[in-house]
């Protein structure tokens, strides 16, 4: 044997720089290994997870490790661009930053002086919304939102209105104690590493995982039990389980009485103008009957034991507890498993078996942690009771027109079981719990030349909070917070372009967007949107949407449809803060935030978008961005991150703030060295929640006091979970004719039907012509890719280079199909012709594909014959922002009527075998790439 001698201890790198990943919304900590190249320059050589980081604890997904191919991607924009050809041609000239900022200021300053609403500023995959909204407020336009309206608002709003917190990065299952974990919905993106880590951890312990998803991939592939539900029927399935559990008394009455509005009294007099509203005292506190005294009392008085059953009659009006109304509704046979089984595609015995297993684990495996705590009524509990059943949901259940009520139904199930914020259940992450009432209400008060009168987005509490101008015109271009979708807390980014094009509710001058691929995968009706972006006013020859400014780091499809491009830096070349004011990286046991910092300097003439906003804000003299002497307040985003204070002592970052005796957490003054402190600590900050404060947080005095100390609240905010969402009842009451704020007549019936304050389920099939188009078509995002931003990545595109349409075995047989055939897919709106593959582990009436793999020729520096452009495709061509005509003379939005969330997953289609075309259809003509195409081959090695 002659073994060669090899070096077992080679030098790993010359330096490790720790920052935060931006390959998806997970925000993991990363160690970026830097090595000197042959010229002696430090280059990114290898990226791994940061073991100390609270989010990923060292692990890293495929996207994260492939970040190195993102910072050398040939699709990176190189300099500011000014459009020189027609929109959509991709013809640009590179200009200087001075010129780019001057053009933008010349467009925007007159708007601000005359009518700030002529600017619509919408940010896509923005992780700096507290900053971008601050900029928009200072500009004074009411037209600002991020992309939540087409992504997550049902999930977020249902959670916050119901229980003051939501799934995704706002909460997590108690991975340490849960024994039964039930995961709903397609898509496997948000919080992806923590969920993978959690699933691995609980499975190693022998816990059961139940997946409810029409598609058995990813997490559902490892689920012990798979429920291949019919899309859009999750709410019905959940309410059937609620029926079974209530009927068996397998609900936590003690929890319901103490921590929820189940005992709160409701006006039950149909003739009363307050019919259906909650009884309150003079301070607005909800009233209950105390079981000890039998008297009517505010829910939060010391010693009160709220009664779930007692009624109260006063002045001829009977008041009954919310819980009575729930029993009346959910014990009805309408929700019996046998009544829902066919619609859900789940046998009744299976529904009962799952409900029974939930009941068994929640109540037979109840346990206690030996931790004393004191609740908001002043009662001290010797232990913390645990119920080891937890739930989580992906976007699947929310991207339907019944999504808000479905998410509400899931939270109702959790609350009935007493398994929110208890050991073994679902836990909030700071800054949650935070009830809807503690959030701002929407603001649209506009004064030319002045800032807006408050934050744009918020949580309406009733018709009086809707956003209309004095003349009755919707105040916002996206018609958020109108009778069409009253509780649209995230805005409706998907309606901005079509509304602006139609001049309904009004015309705008400049559309300003960031990281939002609206001319491709981020819009419904892609082709229609392209036409809206390129159509000209026949009289003036101007584009109907006159000006478009866009910022992106890469040559995305949207670049070609914009007039002025601000090239963004990649995530390793820029500052960012993942702030407690925004969507932080907290854990259930800790508050945490983080930064990004330039671990490499850009080799192009690009700037971080937030820095550009600081500079543009100063150039236009926006108050929040300008000193009294007219000079720029913030040189760049880093300067803002350190020096901006939202309220005295509260800034974008909570770590290492300046106190009297050195640095401190949460509240404190500006610390000039704050970013260095973060960098020294690995790019993040963690403050652990003290023991005794980390469960029962909405009602736990110790947590509430800790949160006040950290600056999360300004005073303790204990509250009851809202099984009954009273603001919804207020909208219904208006639709019934009560009150001064009245909806238009054509919306009355829909508001009465959908704004039910207790969760309901309704079918969206008829609206989508389900009788003629019987198959549901869905998309998921591959775990190894992030939206369109993965396709340019030389490594990741080898994993998912094209996206077949997956077809279940039954439909394959019915249509005489075999693998690699092509089908024509037709919806009420359009048709596509695409390649297919059979998939057996799939709901038998559902087809699906990976989202955003398909690319426009010429985009992302890919060659025009790349499979993304020839075989890849989008389902977006089949989806319209409006529902098909119903024959009532009106066109209704393809959105949830409560929140306006885009109902992507209500898409109904039919399929037929097609002759094999040259390419997926529709095939749009190429756009000219402003950056050319990438190198042919890669052998990327930095060191020797």
């Amino acid at each position: 044997m002659n073994q060669p001698k090899i070096d077992l201890s080679p030098k790993v790198s010359d330096e490790i720089r720790k920052t935060t990943c931006y390959m998806c919304a997970c925000r993991c900590g990363i160690n970026v290994h830097m090595k000197k190249d042959p010229l002696g320059d430090l280059k990114v050589a290898y990226i791994e997870g940061n073991r100390d980081h609270p989010v990923n604890q060292g692990v890293l997904c495929a996207k994260g490790s492939a970040g190195i191919m993102q910072v050398n991607a040939p699709s990176r924009l190189r300099a500011p661009l000014k459009r020189v050809g027609p929109r959509g041609s991709g013809e640009f000239e590179e200009i200087s930053w001075d010129e780019a900022l001057q053009i933008a200021a010349d467009w925007l300053e007159p708007i601000r002086k005359e009518d700030p609403s002529k600017l619509a500023f919408f940010t896509g995959r923005d992780q700096s919304q507290s900053f971008t909204s601050f900029w928009a407020q200072n500009f004074g336009t009411p037209n600002y939102a991020a992309h939540g309206g087409f992504c997550s608002v049902n999930m977020a709003a249902a959670g916050i209105y119901t229980m003051g917190g939501a799934f995704w990065e706002f909460g997590q299952p108690d991975w340490d104690y849960t024994k039964l974990f039930m995961l709903f919905g397609v898509a496997e993106d948000h919080d992806s590493n923590p969920i993978k880590m959690g699933i691995g951890k609980i499975k190693a312990r022998g816990a059961r995982v139940i997946g409810v998803n029409p598609i058995r991939t990813g997490y559902n592939a490892v689920a012990d039990d798979w429920v291949g539900i019919t899309p859009g029927t999750d709410g019905l399935f959940i309410l059937a389980m609620v029926h079974c559990l209530m009927k068996a008394g397998k609900i936590d009455l003690d929890y319901l009485a103490q921590y929820t509005d189940a005992p709160v009294l409701v006006n039950c007099d149909e003739k009363s103008p307050e019919f259906g509203l909650l009884m309150r005292d003079e301070d607005g506190k909800e009233l209950v009957i105390d079981r000890v005294s039998g008297k009517l009392t505010a829910f939060d008085k010391p010693g009160v034991k709220p009664d779930l059953s007692a009624t109260h009659r006063i002045a001829g009006v009977t008041h009954r507890p919310v819980f009575h109304k729930m029993a009346e509704r959910y014990l009805s046979d309408e929700y019996a498993p046998e009544a829902v089984a066919d619609r859900c595609g789940i046998p009744a015995t299976r529904i009962r078996a799952i409900a029974a297993e939930i009941a068994r684990v929640a109540f037979e495996e109840e346990f206690e942690l030996d931790i004393e705590w004191t609740d908001f009524r002043g009662e001290t509990h010797k232990t913390m009771k645990g119920r080891p059943v937890s739930f989580h949901s992906m976007r699947g259940i929310s991207a339907h027109a019944n999504g808000f009520q479905t998410c509400r139904a899931l939270h109702t199930l959790q609350i009935l079981l007493g398994t929110v914020e208890v050991p073994g259940g679902f836990r909030f992450k700071p800054p949650y719990p935070k009830p809807a009432k503690a959030h701002p209400r929407p603001h649209t008060g506009m004064n030319p030349g002045q800032p807006l009168n408050g934050p744009h987005l918020g949580f309406v509490q009733g018709p009086e909070d809707l956003a209309y101008r004095e003349d009755g015109v919707p105040a916002r271009i996206d018609k958020a917070f109108t009778w069409e979708n009253p509780m649209s807390s995230h805005g409706l980014m998907h309606m901005v372009i079509s509304n602006a094009y139609a001049g309904d509710p009004y015309k705008i001058d400049t559309l300003f967007m960031y990281m939002a691929n609206m001319s491709w995968n981020s819009s419904m009706n892609t082709r229609g949107v392209i036409e809206m972006l390129t159509d000209k006013n026949e009289e003036t020859g101007e584009y109907v949407i006159p000006r478009i400014i866009y910022s992106d780091a890469y040559s995305s499809e949207m670049v070609a449809y914009s007039d002025l491009i601000f090239p963004d830096a990649t995530y390793l070349e820029r500052h960012d803060c993942i702030s407690l004011l925004d969507r932080p990286i907290c854990e259930a046991d800790a508050a945490a935030d983080a930064i990004r910092w330039p671990v490499i300097e850009p080799d192009r003439d690009v700037r971080g978008f937030q820095t550009v906003l600081c500079q543009l804000g100063a150039k236009m003299g926006l108050p929040g961005f300008t000193n009294d002497d007219g000079t720029a307040k913030y040189e760049d985003y880093a300067d803002y991150i350190v020096n901006h204070e939202r309220r005295p002592g509260i800034g974008p970052l909570a770590g290492w703030r300046m106190g009297e005796n050195g640095t401190q957490s949460g509240r404190g003054g500006v610390n000039a060295s704050q970013l260095d402190n973060y960098i020294e600590n690995g790019g993040f900050f963690v403050e652990h929640i003290p023991e005794g404060a980390n469960y029962y947080k909405p009602w736990n005095t110790k947590y509430q006091d800790w949160a006040v100390g950290m600056g999360i609240y300004d005073s303790p905010q204990p509250y009851l979970f809202s099984l009954y969402v009273e603001p919804m009842r207020k909208f219904q009451l208006a639709a019934e004719g009560h009150g001064e704020h009245q909806p238009p007549d054509h919306l009355r019936e829909r508001i009465k039907a959908t704004m039910d304050p207790l969760p309901i389920w309704y079918s969206n099939d008829a609206d989508n012509k389900g009788d003629e188009y019987p198959i549901t078509a869905l998309t998921q995002r591959p775990m190894a890719m992030y939206h369109s931003w993965g396709s340019q990545n030389a490594w990741l595109r080898q994993l998912h280079g094209h996206n077949p349409l997956y077809i279940p075995t039954k439909l394959m047989k019915e249509h005489g199909l075999k693998d690699e055939d092509w089908v024509k897919v037709t919806s009420p709106h359009g048709e596509i012709t695409v390649p297919i593959l059979e998939m057996a582990a799939l709901n038998e009436n559902t087809i699906w594909t990976w989202n955003a793999i398909g690319k426009r020729k010429g985009a992302w520096a890919l060659e025009e014959d790349a499979p993304e452009a020839t075989k890849g495709f989008l389902l977006n061509h089949l989806i319209h922002e409006l529902l098909p005509p119903k024959g009532d003379g009106l066109r209704w939005a393809n959105s949830d009527p409560i929140t306006g969330q885009a109902a992507w997953f209500d898409l109904k289609v039919r399929i037929e075998k097609a002759a094999v075309p040259n390419e997926s259809q529709p095939s749009l003509p190429p756009i000219k790439s402003p950056v050319g195409t990438g190198p042919k081959n890669l052998a990327w090695k930095v060191g020797k």
Partner: protein
Amino acid sequence: MTTLPTQTQKKLGLVIDLDTCVGCHACVISCKGWNTENYGAPLSDQNAYGADNSGTFLNRVHSFEVQPLAASEKVQPAAQTIHLPKSCLHCEDAPCVTVCPTGASYKRVEDGIVLVNESDCIGCGLCAWACPYGARELDQEEGVMKKCTLCVDRIYNENLPEVDRVPSCVRTCPSGARHFGDLGDENSDVSKLVAERGGMDLMPEQGTKPVNQYLPPRPKDALPEFDVLAPFLAPIAEEPTGFLGWLDKTLEKL
């Protein structure tokens, strides 16, 4: 022809848990990243931004669908999805080594890792033909055979903290589905895991005696039928009015 050592001092290898692998490809890309920058030539990519793109990977994840057969207790069993990560299994009887005409492929005596000495590799590809697992890939740029090194330049690397001296795929795996250790030591954690979970050889009929082991998925869709679980849902009352009666009685006991 190249000879194998008669025995090795250790049998280092991977234990891969098919019960928790979600098919996320984290291991694939972490491996690509580490091994591009480290041992031997970088793992190159051809037509990196065009059609027919391909590249060298030492570790790939394959996804399979499994359709269980109908049985009397389960007439229509649901199909399953299984993700199978696959890299060199560092076989005890490695046919890729014995077939090597130059001695470039070899199995280390100390730990059993199968490696390619790139300076002696002529890129003939015989080893890739001989490997029944398809675990070797010829790098198109460099013309040498590439394969999993079990991160031999990590696991003993004194420049890394001790906790990080594991293959990069193991360090990065989010669901904890990958384990590394000495499968020749029956007291090692990995050997115990294999014993507890019924770890299996991949394609044992090939007679290669693979060191890497796979932990099989637990039985799926095995929730008991409702009749077994029915006692947990025994109704407290048939009528809604009965429910309120139960409620009053139960509240009294609270």
